[in-house]
């Protein structure tokens, strides 16, 4: 946290805050996109021994550039082991060997349930999204889950249109009732704030603000009456090292594809 302030975007703040959720030595199941950027940033800053597991079957990947897809050859080339997709889900994810599941989505609701399936009615959708992919079992089986998503009232809703992956269902006790073994989404990181589940009710509460974001703005950017914790801290801004590492990571993406269009 030393050095002069460096300019950063909202996405930078989101990515850096998410990367800080990962501790060195943890095993992290990584989705592609922002979660992958945040996890790889953590590996290049405070968590060099973070173990990255991708659902394509790479255990312990140490990519030198940001993978563009879950099946990027870089992930296989740098992995401790490449295994089959059934094995990654059955032998590694399902028994609870993974510490942190890192997920995004299209919608997140008050109880941290995730929708990545459909906006509107399932049978006659307004927007058909790609679908759940690996997320339902990642959300169920990892010891804990970190959700990261840009915050708008359309993305953060009272009740998701479709529960693709369970956070806390309808509230306290639901995970236990459903037999979901992990602790669920303990942290939701947005470009406005950090939310954590109320230990009693499991409802998401704003617990920290991104630097430069007001409490009113952060609450207004949720589609429900977002509760605010008694103590709200403001996150330390991304420091120079973090931003330099992030820029270096981002710079690796454009290179391999000749014309990025």
């Amino acid at each position: 946290m030393t050095g002069p302030a460096v300019p950063f975007s909202r996405d930078d703040a989101l990515t850096v805050a998410a990367s800080r959720c990962l501790r060195n030595g943890q095993v992290c199941f990584v989705g592609i996109g922002l979660p992958s950027t945040a996890a790889n940033l953590a590996r290049r800053t405070h968590a060099p021994d973070l173990v990255l597991v991708y659902e394509s079957g790479t255990l312990g990947s140490k990519p030198t550039r940001l993978p563009l897809s879950i099946g990027d050859g870089e992930l296989a080339d740098t992995a401790d082991s490449v295994i089959s997709v059934p094995e990654v889900f059955n032998y590694w994810l399902q028994p609870g060997r993974v510490d942190v599941g890192f997920l995004g989505g299209a919608q997140v609701d008050r109880f941290a349930n995730i929708n990545s399936t459909v906006i509107g009615d399932y049978a006659a959708p307004k927007v058909r999204l790609p679908g759940a992919g690996g997320a339902p079992e990642i959300a169920a089986s990892c010891r804990e889950v970190v959700i990261m998503l840009r915050q708008t009232p359309r993305a953060f809703v009272e009740r998701v249109d479709f529960v693709s992956s369970v956070g806390f269902g309808a509230g306290a006790g639901d995970r236990e009732r459903l037999g979901l073994r992990g602790a669920g989404p303990q942290t939701v990181v947005t470009d406005h704030c950090i939310m954590r589940p109320d230990p009693e009710t499991c409802e998401l509460m704003l617990t920290a603000l991104q630097p430069g974001v007001s409490l009113d703005d952060a609450v207004a950017a949720a589609g429900w009456a977002l509760r605010v914790a008694d103590q709200v801290e403001t996150l330390t801004p991304p420091d120079g090292d973090e931003l330099a590492a992030l820029r270096a990571l981002q710079a690796t993406v454009a290179a391999p594809s000749g014309h990025a269009a």
Binding site: I32, G33, E55, S56, G57, T58, L68, S69, I70, G71, D72, G73, L75, A76, V82, S84, V85, P86, F89, N90, L93, Q94, T117, Y122, P125, K126, V127, R128, L129, P130, G131, A132, G133, G134, A135, P136, E137, A140, S141, F162, V163, S164, S165, V166, G169, D174, R175, L178, G179, L180, R181, P256, S257, G258, H259, A260, A261
Partner: protein
């Protein structure tokens, strides 16, 4: 024993209207050329199966080959939506698309059960999700020892599975390496299996991470260099990321899509892939 044939012959012999087919690949080694040959041969009423349907399934759907899709994640990896898939689901164009939607863990286990000759697989999955209410092929089963209730999904046994691999030898034994996804399971679950390969070699040399499928587990092998383009074949090609990006624009518009299929699929021959 395997029959080494041309792609056109293999598809003509193996794929019929109404078949359930799986063209598997996990970003790596996607059998795109085989998908184009299926479009060229005007197959219809197909049920297509894949964990991660991407551009080639978008093309099959837009070309009107597909009645139903069984899947867990349908998108353009790293880019966004599949517009032909969305158009079929949201507006029924060019025909309505029935979907059967699972999670990755469920799909992987469905293939594994199919490969194992079992009618179903057991997993910890789906609990609490809305998939349970919308997908008929999710059920429960009770452990006869502990009484615990778990999730059951039925085996997938495609009529035909198609994969792309790096090498085959002249006897039709196949080897792939790098990320090999669920391809072995997809092949072993199928009644008939076609493998397109980058290269036919005199002898397969064991490699780290190499997966070998013996010829007696396959129906046909076809020599289709570049057959995974725009995806990649580790050791032979790199992913054409620009193609995926460009597909977003091409596929957004029905006319532009149709023109693209006419030019790049129908007017092209299977041989044009590089044989």
């Amino acid at each position: 024993m395997t029959n080494i044939t041309t792609l056109a012959e293999a598809v003509a012999e193996l794929v019929s209207d109404g078949d359930t087919i799986a063209l598997e690949g996990f970003t790596h080694l996607i059998p795109v050329a085989a998908g184009h040959e299926i479009i060229r041969q005007h197959r219809r009423e197909l049920t297509v199966v894949r964990m991660t349907p991407d551009v080639v399934y978008d093309q099959l759907i837009g070309a009107g080959c597909v009645a139903k899709m069984i899947f867990s994640w349908g998108g353009n990896p790293g880019v966004g939506s599949l517009h032909r898939f969305r158009d079929a689901v949201e507006h029924g164009w060019p025909r309505p698309l029935e979907i059967e939607e699972h999670s990755h863990a469920g799909m992987a286990n469905r293939y594994a059960a199919g490969a194992s000759g079992l009618p179903f697989a057991v997993l910890r999955g789906y609990r609490g999700t809305d998939l349970v209410a919308h997908t008929a092929t999710i059920a429960t089963v009770t452990c006869p020892f502990t009484g615990e209730e778990l999730t059951a999904v039925p085996a997938i046994n495609p009529d035909v599975s198609v994969i792309h691999a790096q090498q085959a030898d002249r006897a039709g034994n196949v080897m792939m390496w790098g990320i090999t996804g669920v391809q072995k399971e997809a092949v072993l679950a199928a009644h008939r299996a076609l493998v397109t390969v980058e290269e036919i070699v005199d002898e397969l040399h064991p490699r780290p991470g190499g997966v070998v499928l013996p010829s007696w587990a396959l129906s046909h092998v076809a020599h289709v260099p570049g057959g995974a383009h725009p995806s990649y074949a580790q050791g032979y090609s790199t992913r054409d990321n620009a193609y995926y990006t460009a597909w977003d624009e091409i596929s957004k518009d029905r006319d532009r899509f149709c023109e693209w299929i006419d030019t790049h699929v129908h007017a092209a021959s299977a041989a044009g892939v590089g044989e």
